[in-house]
């Protein structure tokens, strides 16, 4: 490991941890509706929103009402996004005159963005109009992030409240999180990104005359625009030449920042954060990584604050940091080790003062190894899925890390809200297991953990592996599933496994070689995204409702402390055990066998 790589990781973590307390406290104040200056400033706007919605902001909802409101609201979001894509040719702000998106791709993308997945089967710069990007995709970047956060807040309220029937008001929670947390942070940081070079305009694409003329081969098309094929069915190539480069434009910075802040990950452009327009400099890269971590890290403090014992939040955060360090170490050291296949060809992969070295296929010169491995660990430990390098071209164990991060349920900081509630579910399972082992009544934060909570926790944890393993199994058995694979051998299997893992965990990153923009994958992955999102959410809300109604058990000598090192390691053990037991066979067939082939010869 190179010192600069370690230093970068330390700085990114330190910045996120330093901001955890102030931001976490602010979020707690916002969600509890305390009279802080921001809420007083926004009060007139808030009142207008509630009046237009015809809703009483003081009315509390039970967990079922909350869940129904959440799903109905998200369903309308999906409909609106689907309609925007299907009609974009006839709507304004489409200077490139992009056609309406196909039905299966629109469905996939709509589900993808409302579920905070942002799996992208399409190529942004050649598919989506500015209106679809701004008023469709970016809106769901805000609202899906807000949805995740409010679910976490409701679960926290479940622990904090006593003998309560209500868990909060969905409309108020959504409005406040968007208005006071997501929007202001995005607005400030978007301008920092523009300063670093991220475009922000509504102009048509700009054609420039390049220094040299480029000669190339392209598939020949007939008068109707269909590719011409020779007798053997192969496309006929023709010679072409150009000295024009078309530069994509659009409102990129405003979308780029919420893509990170909301742990969404859906890029304006196909290459996502590897594109020099989305992520132009090492500083913009640092900012994007810290922005991804901001809310997930801060929510651990929000949690501690709202349950009245901040040590509880720090314990959760400690478990996350330890898991993160291990994963990052594996990714960075394997990417830096490079590719032995290229070493035999006379390629210099040694790090030094003049080059980063290592496995540079699918990486950008400004990011090198350290910033690429760090971004990959952060984007999959959270549910972001933005990428600044091609995960498909990572070394086997470098690619194992993003895959395993997602398989653990994205709890290494995790998505905004989703990371917090998923980790709390693991904590509930952890204290239950510990309770069984030592014969104490399982309780967490003064709430008894009983059969209903355990049933819902199991449902919430098990749906993801079910979707991943069954989905992958079906895809590898179908010829349409296999034919989308780009790389031969074990790596091809990893591509399919990665796709289903990413969709079911609402991550959105990909082993990009997989040609997933076909009806089979569009529909299968949409199903995984939908179930992988709302199934656990309903289970979590049910747990929250049940917990909120319980009395608080006073601390006694029989209470297991949940803020010390013992609990931290119990939590880490639970996360690793559940993840490893479920996925080791699948991982052995993919990255692990590939790693042995690469280094064993």
């Amino acid at each position: 490991m190179v010192p600069s790589t370690l230093a970068l990781a330390a700085v990114v973590l330190a910045l996120a941890l330093l901001l955890a307390k102030p931001l976490g406290l602010y979020i707690a104040n916002v969600m509890e509706g305390r009279p802080i200056w921001a809420l007083r400033l926004g009060a007139p706007l808030e009142r207008l929103v509630y009046r237009l919605c015809g809703t009483d902001p003081n009315a509390e909802m039970g967990w079922k009402g909350y869940a129904i409101a959440l799903i109905v609201f998200n369903a309308f979001g999906a409909l609106a996004l689907y309609a925007l894509q299907r009609l974009q040719l006839w709507l304004p702000l489409n200077p490139q005159h992009f056609a309406n998106v196909s039905a299966d791709s629109s469905l996939n993308t709509a589900v993808s963005f409302i579920t905070n997945t942002n799996w992208q089967g399409y190529s942004g710069e050649s598919t989506m109009s500015y209106l679809t990007q701004m008023a469709g995709l970016a809106v769901q970047n805000f609202l899906s992030a807000a949805t995740g956060i409010v679910v976490a807040i409701v679960l926290i309220r479940g622990f904090a409240r006593r003998n309560a029937t209500g868990v909060g008001n969905f409309w108020v929670d959504m409005t406040r999180v968007t208005l006071y947390v997501l929007l202001p942070i995005s607005a400030v940081l978007a301008l920092v990104l523009v300063w670093q070079g991220v475009p922000q305009n509504l102009s048509a694409y700009k054609d420039v005359t390049t220094l040299e003329r480029v000669d190339y081969e392209q598939p020949k098309t007939d008068a109707a625009g269909d590719p011409v094929k020779d007798a053997a069915g192969n496309p006929v190539l023709e010679h072409a030449s150009t000295q024009t480069q078309s530069l994509p434009m659009g409102p990129m910075a405003s979308q780029e920042i919420i893509k990170e802040l909301g742990t969404n990950g859906g890029g304006f452009l196909n290459a996502n954060s590897a594109h020099p327009f989305e992520n132009p400099t090492p500083l913009s890269n640092l900012l994007e990584m810290v922005t991804i971590l901001l809310i997930p890290v801060a929510l651990t403090y929000t949690f501690g604050r709202m349950v009245g014992d901040t040590r509880q939040g720090w314990a959760i955060l400690a478990a996350m940091v330890i898991l993160f360090a291990g994963e990052f170490w594996i990714a960075a050291s394997n990417e830096q080790a490079g590719n032995p296949q290229l070493a035999t060809l006379g390629v210099d992969q040694a790090p030094g003062p003049l080059q980063p070295g290592g496995n540079m296929e699918g990486k950008e010169a400004r990011f090198g190894i350290g910033a690429s491995a760090l971004f990959a660990t952060i984007t999959t430990g959270t549910s972001t899925g933005a990428v600044n390098a091609s995960h498909d071209s990572f070394t086997p164990m470098g690619g194992f890390v993003p895959l395993f991060n997602m398989m653990l349920g994205e709890v290494i900081f995790g998505g905004v809200g989703t990371g917090m509630y998923s980790m709390l579910i693991f904590a509930v399972v952890g204290v239950f297991i510990a309770g069984l082992m030592i014969g104490r009544t399982p309780e967490y934060l003064g709430k008894k953990i009983q059969a209903f909570e355990m049933k819902m926790s199991a449902i919430s944890i098990l749906v993801m592996p079910l979707l991943v393993l069954v989905g992958t199994a079906i895809a590898v058995m179908l010829s349409t599933g296999q034919s989308a694979v780009a790389n031969p051998g074990a790596h091809g299997f990893s591509e399919i496994l990665y796709a289903f893992t990413s969709a079911s965990n609402n991550n959105g990153s990909a082993f990009g070689g997989l040609s997933a923009n076909v009806p089979f994958y569009n529909v299968a992955l949409a199903l995984c995204m939908w179930l992988g999102r709302y199934w656990p959410i309903v289970a979590v809300l049910a747990i929250a409702g049940s917990l909120a109604g319980k009395a608080r058990v006073p601390v006694s000598s029989g209470t297991m402390p949940t803020h010390g090192p013992t609990f931290v390691f119990l939590l880490i053990g639970t996360v690793l055990l559940v993840g490893a037991l479920t996925f080791v066979p699948a991982l052995a067939l993919g990255p692990i066998v590939e790693h042995l082939m690469m280094w064993g010869g």
Binding site: T5, L8, E125, M134, G197, N201, T209, P356, S393
Partner: protein, 190 residues
Amino acid sequence: MPAILRPAIVLLLLMTALTGLAYPLLITAVAQVLFPSQAAGSVVLRGGRAVGSALIGQSFSDPGHFWGRPSATAPQPYNGTASGGSNLGPLNPALADAVKARIEALRTADPAGAVKVPVDLVTASSSGLDPEISLAAADFQAPRIAQARHTSVGAVTALIEAHARGRVLGFLGEPRVNVLELNLALDGSR
């Protein structure tokens, strides 16, 4: 049910207006005032003509120009409207073949070049539009460029050093140089 439908629809419309129209348009307006060049794509002008973006790489194959990272975009390399990487896995024979062919091309252009080729000069970037190469990759090409332009290798390496970017504070960024910037400087000094 209407108790849910009305707020669901109205809140979605309000939030779309706020986060989908007001917010991006406001950022666009402020960006035009504060950072007009960056907001418009950091376009580079030469003699009043747009010759590229400072952030987007171009395809170079003239022996007298610095060459950038190999680009996997289709159909032509450095296609601005089709960003993306090769997505070749590390053990894919197609990756080794491509790297072999790129080494071959570098050797043909400069048979007396250094024995070992810097890795970023023979591997495709993730965006296919990487504007930069490592300093090692730039130095590797200096003898070829000096020969093609009938100048000294020292003059070329001095140019590289003048445009080099390093690790800010020791950890931020990699040692690298912008290829379009270098080639514009080369053409300007001819």
